[in-house]
Symmetry: C2
Subunit: 245 residues, 2 copies
DNA sequence: CGTGAGCTTGACTTGTTTCAACCAACGTGG
DNA sequence: CCACGTTGGTTGAAACAAGTCAAGCTCACG
């Protein structure tokens, strides 16, 4: 394990001899994301590190390896030819870059690093071989895929039927839940490396308006943001605003 | 084949002894959707018919069979507790009700018939068995799944970053393309059973505004709608409006 | 020390919603 | 047969949420 590989398909990748934090993280993720741990022991992988704000992969690239985020945040996004951008999903530690890469090499949307990102890649051929050997694995993989689809559906409801306040409240709570599941939140406090333009592109709003809504949230004591961290001060009220059931 | 089954999970299903149009359609779909034809010959299935405007399945139901639409249009949608609705996808002949049902029984969003819908269901256990026997099948299935995800991503861009005109133009062109792929469009003419409220729920707009945009489209000679059919009069201009590359 | 990225705030504009009234087509039951 | 409610569509006026434009601020960085 930890073998180095050329990975020619991933253009802007800088390789590192070993990713110090990854093993610790992998074990931390064992509970929530069994598949990751399983792959780690059964499959060889290569490790990569990429600085913040850089593209990890481009739409329509082909990729013979399946990448999983180990550390840091990334965003998968599509861009219209006239520059409008929509972020489809934020990728957190433990997420596949995109679940469909398990079966198909073509990348559907570009992914860029929000923070510095550490990730591992597995050879698709080896993964498929393992899959046929151990058919129960397919359920763990399909789980990841179904989650990805569920998040896409949630996004559609947010964008199609929610006000600006609701969209932003939902985004924050969604990230908070996902981090909590992975034991990456400390109580009501979580890392929050997103710039306002990330939030704007994820919620279909303008940067200016996102700024106004966030100020309003802060002023009314719902959240606190400082030093790239976010504290949920009034969870109940934020949930009420988000109209989550 | 054509066996009848109780299918207790599908509550409002009315069964029919045989679905006269299905065999013809299945062969028509052979080219475009290999998997459907393959299943038809290798797997037993049951056939169902459901009238327009009725629910086919409800969110959180569990379903041990995998349904594929044979004839008619359906819509998968989620509803917020306060009544706001978002249609996630229109299902056309040849589409899985939802691709994730291949692996998991729990239904993620409710599906309702737009027109009368004929569909077939396959037992998940039989499908899984066949899958392990013929591993190449997995690629055909993943294809369907990837398409479903691609449509979800397209929807997000429409809802998040497009104007009302663009959203509606894109919806029309998207349906037109999918029907054309299945040889279900006749030139620029296609069935168009959608009510304005379907379009509204699919594009995240209000019924009133959808009405205004459609009138405008008609007035400026882009489309013609009559008798539940739609003709694309000025394809070039409609594409320009939709900002499709 | 200048430059650019990110954030805040205010004034004004616009696309879409809301509200309302009205019409046509259709099925249903008396 | 007509009376009736329901569903679907059209149109116009007013209200509002979010966008646009603009200026000024901080901070990190080469």
């Amino acid at each position: 394990m930890g073998l180095k590989s050329a990975d020619a398909q991933l253009q802007p990748v800088e390789e590192v001899a070993s990713c110090a934090v990854c093993p610790a993280l992998a074990s931390k993720l064992c509970g929530g994301l069994g598949h990751l741990a399983t792959f780690g022991t059964l499959l060889r992988h290569s490790e990569h590190k990429i600085p913040a704000r850089r593209l990890i992969c481009r739409k329509h690239d082909r990729l013979d390896r399946v990448p999983i985020v180990c550390e840091g945040w990334a965003a998968s996004a599509v861009t219209l030819f006239d520059g409008r951008r929509q972020i489809l999903s934020f990728l957190l530690p433990g997420d596949f870059l995109s679940a469909h890469l398990i079966f198909e090499p073509e990348i559907q949307c570009s992914v860029e690093a929000v923070t510095e990102v550490h990730y591992r890649t597995f050879a698709r051929t080896e993964l498929m071989a393992l899959l046929l050997e151990q058919p129960t694995l397919i359920h763990k993989l399909s789980r990841a895929w179904i989650d990805e689809k569920a998040r896409a559906d949630q996004l559609a409801i947010n964008l199609g039927r929610c006000s600006a306040d609701e969209r932003i409240a939902r985004l924050i709570l969604n990230l908070f839940d996902r981090l909590t599941q992975r034991s990456l939140a400390r109580g009501q406090l979580m890392d929050f490396p997103l710039r306002q333009h990330h939030i704007a592109d994820a919620t279909g709003l303008t940067v200016v308006h996102v700024g106004k809504v966030l100020s309003e949230f802060r002023r009314s004591g719902l959240i606190k943001i400082s030093d790239r961290s976010l504290t949920i001060v009034d969870l109940k009220e934020l949930q009420r605003l988000a109209k989550l059931q």
